[in-house]
Assembly symmetry: C2
Homo-oligomer: 525 residues x 2
């Protein structure tokens, strides 16, 4: 027998209802050149309903894919609510992908309308001939006079002339958003979020012990809104009436310093590399900007290195927090109030670790296995992609991450399974080696990859971006004090810059390929 | 098109999964006579699976109603997870109802099995002949030798011999719990919760700005588990790994003081009257027990009077918080970190106020209207009850409460619509008068009801339980300083004790009936 409770679907528009009704006066602040664009959640709601009307007038129907190619701005935020709110699907295309990858994703998604930032128009023009299904382009600002996009519309013009429409009731399982993995191997894979998964993920971000997004916070969201919904923070901020600060078009490190100085956010959400860049920019600008409002720095994409965490704590009193997740998990699945681990599974997130035979391993602080996840906000398959079979097993998502759980339910990431180094029958964690290297004062960034070895099958190779004078031997001594002897890499090479992926992670795939093709400074494959 | 996310139903067993796996070592502490019974969430989980096995062996099938007639104990907590977990429906029968009402609810619910506390066996025996569908009685402790209940089983015996069963996957809309309203008018009405509504309500209790149930808290749950799931706190504590302290069989005020002294909870959840009783008991026991661990006192059932709030703040440093809800809303729908109002709607709770014609009124801090609610954890109808038509309209629950919203989304309760006094065309709030009276140092408790009046249609009548020497005139002067002249009651009567309902609220229905029948001290109808 069913319960007799209201059959009230979990829809993204419910988040907006609370922003408008309960927190209507709270602000959304978007960097706009050297100034700021500011309005309230009440105004957001009214513009969302006009955007929904404008898109309907352009012919957008329920189920249609509408792409954004955009920065973190108030207009992008409007798309976050209007597109799924009207029953269409928001594909947040990632302009940091290669042109080929971007074209692949937009074609694969079958995008019909693209909302594009003025400065990204040239990028879109260069792939437009590969997007035969797109029937309308909308520029999120001034339309460049010489654009070849056609037909092309001015976003503000559309809104000015649009009739507001009420967002309809929908099935909560309806698709709401589409995001592609950043493609560390092969073509990007599409993850199709539903209203239900988005709402549940949003709630989980606001729970005590999780990110705890709260009414009194001011969030600076640097994590791109083009990447896994900026970890869901825009939705959580709206739900909780959190003041939301968006860094606008192409923010440089000094822009971010200025925003922090001006808007005094108490929380910043960003990739680990942004935490590093801001530290460096703060030092190189003579500490001109005040960063003391920042109580919490939520860094993601990879485990924050201890040296970076300590700098923020000691120099600015900022606590670095982190979690774990992936595009396939919306993305947040664990959260930690510090960096001692990746934290505990959020409510409704079930996890296990398994060995190579698929046997579940104990949470004993020692057993290392592949992390598997089951939650209403994890993907069950990729969109139209035969590779799904490799990642999903018996209802669980196989993450490809290798981790260990302590008995108190805290998860520590050891590696990506493909980055784990198997040397002479023993596992070596590239992440642990990288963190130890980056804790050395003369190391700016470091990445460790596996290279083939005749004797040991694989051996670690460390690539180091130094920030002062340091020798291979000094670094080896530094590591020898911390790890078993067989962990210490024979080869440590100094590189000018460590390659990064489109979302700012160390690009180990590129390093491995470069090594195998032509070697690295001082050593050949 | 549907999203491609895991189809993972929201089930009560997911809450237990987190308690067991992430917080397996955290404790559940139940008062047991003058001592305590203590075990971990891991042990809770293992006993839950055995209880499910035992109930299945007794013949309990999915959809069956299983009643508890029980105090707040670890065994009752086991029923909270095992009964819905196995697909049956937990009817938490309320032993504070009159015998007739209790028999009515258990017959109406079609209960098949009753789990009964040893000291409540006589009560159950007295109505057992009115429960023809019950096929098994289980005593949550020692079976009284002379009981007439039959067949009757010993709970611990059943568990000792039961096979543990894994809790099955279920439809999230399946009924999970059944609770009856406390029946301030007519027979109690049944509200049938689903797994989905219970899980969503639980999440909402843990969100920042809501009750914020957290891992580091120790909750003393005095609110009866027989009444709206103790406001959902046992489920929220399990989900968050909160240390849970349960006051056991028939706790007296001094028992509660001792529990607070011994277990040092930082949060207590209780009816407003319990807050009053504890204050009085603390004073009368010479402040022998240390209550300083209590940071937060969550009082409900009615708006906490200011005098009580101040006492807790000034004498113990305890912040009184409150919310608003009813059996029909699971129950929590708003929450406030203080007592300045009943707080803001929780995430996913939509509210509006309407006038008598059903027109929506603005949130302007002035307009007073009937509160209506829409949320996935509100009832859409009562179980098998023709009175449903009066309470539900166009998908909204009409609460019968009258309230006002400020523009920042905070709701202040003015009255029950049937308790509001309409005098000479003007509204008078009985709640406001009661709070003002109870702020007087010589007033212990006060209740205000409407009585018929030839000139004004209705006039307020104040019934006061004094705690010292005070006159009618002194109280009138006290009120005159605070309210418009027409608000001040002509009649103030002193009563020995104010009658309470089964859940500790002022019983205005009884007072009104008593007045209309035979008058009150000093005045006749």
């Amino acid at each position: 027998m069913h319960g007799l409770m209201m059959d009230r679907p979990l829809l993204i528009k419910r988040l907006l209802w609370r922003a408008e009704h309960v927190f209507g006066d709270k602000q959304v602040i978007s960097r706009d050149g050297s100034g700021y664009h500011t309005y309230t959640y009440a105004e957001l709601g009214s513009r969302v309903r006009r955007l929904a009307g404008a898109l309907a007038a352009l012919g957008v129907a329920p189920g249609d894919r509408v792409a954004t190619l955009a920065w973190n701005t108030h207009r992008h935020l409007e798309c976050y609510f209007a597109v799924p709110g009207m029953g269409a699907i928001l594909h947040t295309a990632n302009h940091r992908l290669s042109e080929d990858q971007l074209a692949y994703t937009m074609d694969h998604a079958r995008d019909r309308v693209v909302l594009v930032e003025p400065d990204l128009v040239p990028l879109l023009e260069s792939i437009a001939d590969r997007l035969p299904l797109v029937h309308s382009y909308v520029v999120l600002g001034k339309v460049p006079a010489d654009t070849t996009l056609s037909p092309v519309f001015d976003y503000e013009d559309l809104l000015a002339h649009a009739a507001a429409v009420e967002l309809p009731e929908l099935d909560e399982y309806a698709a709401a958003g589409l995001c592609y993995t950043s493609g560390t191997t092969g073509d990007p894979k599409g993850v199709l979020y539903s209203h239900r998964s988005t709402v549940l993920h949003t709630l989980a971000l606001c729970v005590k012990g999780s990110a705890e997004v709260a009414e009194d916070d001011t969030y600076l969201v640097v994590t791109p809104m083009s990447h896994v919904n900026a970890w869901g923070t825009p939705y959580a901020c709206a739900l909780q009436g959190t003041t939301l600060v968006l860094p606008g078009t192409h923010p440089r490190p000094e822009d971010l310093l200025r925003i922090i100085h001006d808007q005094r956010p108490n929380v910043m959400v960003a990739a680990v590399t942004v935490g590093t860049m801001l530290r460096d920019a703060h030092n190189s600008t003579g500490r001109r900007y005040h960063l003391d409002s920042l109580q919490r720095l939520w860094l993601g994409g990879q485990a924050p290195p201890a040296a970076l965490t300590e700098w923020w704590q000691q120099n600015n009193g900022t606590v670095v927090v982190n979690g774990w997740g992936m595009t396939e998990t919306s993305p947040i699945a664990t959260f930690s109030p510090d960096v001692s681990s990746q934290g505990k599974p959020l409510p409704l997130v079930e996890m296990r670790i398994t060995d190579e035979a698929g046997t579940e391993l104990p949470w004993d602080g020692k057993s290392v296995g592949e992390l598997e996840v089951c939650t209403p906000w994890a993907a069950r398959e990729y969109l139209d992609d035969p590779r799904s079979v490799d990642s999903f097993r018996e209802g669980w998502l196989r993450t490809g991450d290798v981790s260990v759980f302590t008995p108190d339910g805290s998860m520590a990431l050891k590696d990506r399974s493909k980055d784990l180094i198997k040397s002479g029958g023993e596992w070596i964690s590239s992440v642990d080696l990288e963190n130890a290297l980056m804790a050395h004062p003369m190391v700016h960034e470091a990445v460790v990859i596996a290279i083939p070895d005749e004797t040991w099958l694989e051996r670690p190779l460390a690539c180091v971006e130094a920030q002062g004078s340091v020798t291979e031997e000094e670094l080896r001594n530094h590591l020898q004090a911390r790890f078993a002897k067989y962990w210490v890499p024979e080869h440590i090479v100094f590189v000018r810059r460590i390659p990064k992926t489109s979302v700012g992670k160390f690009d180990k795939k590129q390093l491995r390929a470069r090594y195998l093709e032509c070697g690295l400074p001082g050593i050949s494959p």
